[in-house]
Amino acid sequence: MDIIEVKNLTKKFGDLMAVDSVSFNVAKGEIFAFLGPNGAGKSTTIKMLTTLLKPSSGKILLDGFNPSTNPDQVRHSFGIVFQDPSLDDELTAFENMEFHGVLYGLAKKVRRERIEQLLSFVELWDRRKHLVKNFSGGMKRRLEIARGLLHQPKVLFLDEPTLGLDPQTRNHMWAYLQDLNKKEGTTIFFTTHYMEEADRNAQRIAIIDYGKIIVSGTSQELKSQTNTTSLEEAFLALTGKVIREEEVGAIDRLRQRRRLWSGRR
């Protein structure tokens, strides 16, 4: 059964087609990598899947529910680790977890048990009373992952979760995610710029570019389709070698200014 079904999903910002009629499915229990250059539409797609942004058109079903019409059911079904930190720096690690637990309606006893279990796992239990603002980047990431799992979601979204992490933390994290995926059957949907990370962990990969999905399949399929030996080469063969950064920055700024003045977002 498919836990995520996306059909002809489109998002326009003014004249800009951020996501252009995208369709894909993710099976229950799958580890799915969503790849693409900067500004290709990855984050916009994730925002639409996670109820943060309304699609211009198209259909999404997450765990059988539509994020636009049944946001609360959808919100119970997923956990997310955002690209940029979303912790409260002025709260302690424990308070951040506690806050999340209350928001997701977990009873106190269950909440406390799981917080201890998850914080111990990410090796932050000893630091639970420390303010998050004194944490390193890696510690914050670990805390966010622990937090995203607190309400035992069916799907875990990870938007560039290993950005800026050292190999030790990265390996530790993926070992845990793989374990979680096997034991609990949690579906994992992640984006990354590290191709070897996608190659090693994802069962299936989709590549999006200029708002459109250009290919999807296993890492092996992508390589043989492009006659390449590594996923990185396959990725470059499919998306070209032009650097996108600047163009995206301009569009982002424009979008921001437009929103600031028109008061819409």
Binding site: T51, F78, D88, V102, L103, R147, L260, R265
Partner: protein, 249 residues
């Protein structure tokens, strides 16, 4: 539902208690106004036959503290948006209304505490309230006023994307609201245009009610103050939660 409001409220309070430098920093401005205006204009005020200026000014400075702290804590949503924490609350399976109400109540509580601190500082500087027994009622009206302006801050913050607009809001909204509210001068005997503006300024009613409860002097009458404050607070809360519910990231 109450759990959500409570945890949002608690978060605002914890953040407030932990930022001692901000608490002290935001007391500097009211203190300066109290000392400079209070002692500076005191003799002139006395000569004009209006009595003790510190006694007139203190409720106004309490109002000033409340409007600045309250609008700012509402606008803090922009920080949450930039530093990401807002997303954590927006993807949670709870109604946006509860998030907004809890946050606003938390911000209003901190603004009220801040106002109470300034009130006691004013007492140390020679302010004499006529009836200490009215303090509980006073604190309630202070909270109501704080709620109004936190909701206003939330409304504005829901429309802005980054802190660039912040100076604009402070200079073109909060400053005029404060200066034209009758906080630092009596509203009697002013040019018509100024009294008319003051009548449309919600802070006028807040300051007026503080003044009544502290020194038994009123311009509009307590009943009018309370009706206007309550009505505008409800309106701003409704508008604020509507705009907050429309936030997309």
């Amino acid at each position: 539902m109450f759990k959500i409001i409570y945890i949002m409220w608690l978060r605002q309070l914890k953040r407030y208690m932990r930022s001692r430098s901000r608490i002290i920093g935001s007391l500097a401005q009211p203190l300066l106004f109290l000392v400079a205006l209070g002692y500076g204009f005191g003799p002139v005020f006395q000569k004009a036959g209006e009595g003790n200026y510190i006694n007139f000014l203190a409720p106004g400075i309490v109002g000033m503290t409340i409007i600045f702290t309250a609008v700012f804590s509402g606008i803090e949503i922009i920080w949450d948006r930039q530093f990401g924490f807002l997303k954590e609350t927006l993807v949670a399976p709870v109604s946006r209304l509860n998030i907004m109400v809890g946050r606003t109540a938390g911000g209003a509580t901190t603004a009220t505490i801040q106002g109470i601190i300034v009130l006691f500082i004013a007492v140390a500087f020679g302010f004499r309230p006529t009836n200490w027994l009215l303090f509980p009622a006073l604190f309630l009206v202070m909270f109501l006023t704080a709620l109004l302006f936190t909701a206003l801050g939330t409304m504005i913050a829901s429309l802005l994307e980054d802190m660039q607009g912040f100076q604009l809001i402070m200079n073109f909204l909060v400053m005029p609201l404060f200066f034209l509210s009758g906080a630092i001068f009596p509203l009697q005997g002013l040019p018509n245009s100024v009294t008319t503006i003051a009548r449309f300024d919600p802070l006028s009613y807040g300051v007026d009610s503080f003044r009544f409860l502290l020194t038994n002097v009123t311009h509009f009458g307590l009943a009018v103050d309370l009706i206007v404050l309550t009505a505008i607070t409800l309106l701003f809360l409704a508008l604020g939660s509507y705009l907050f519910s429309k936030i997309q990231i």
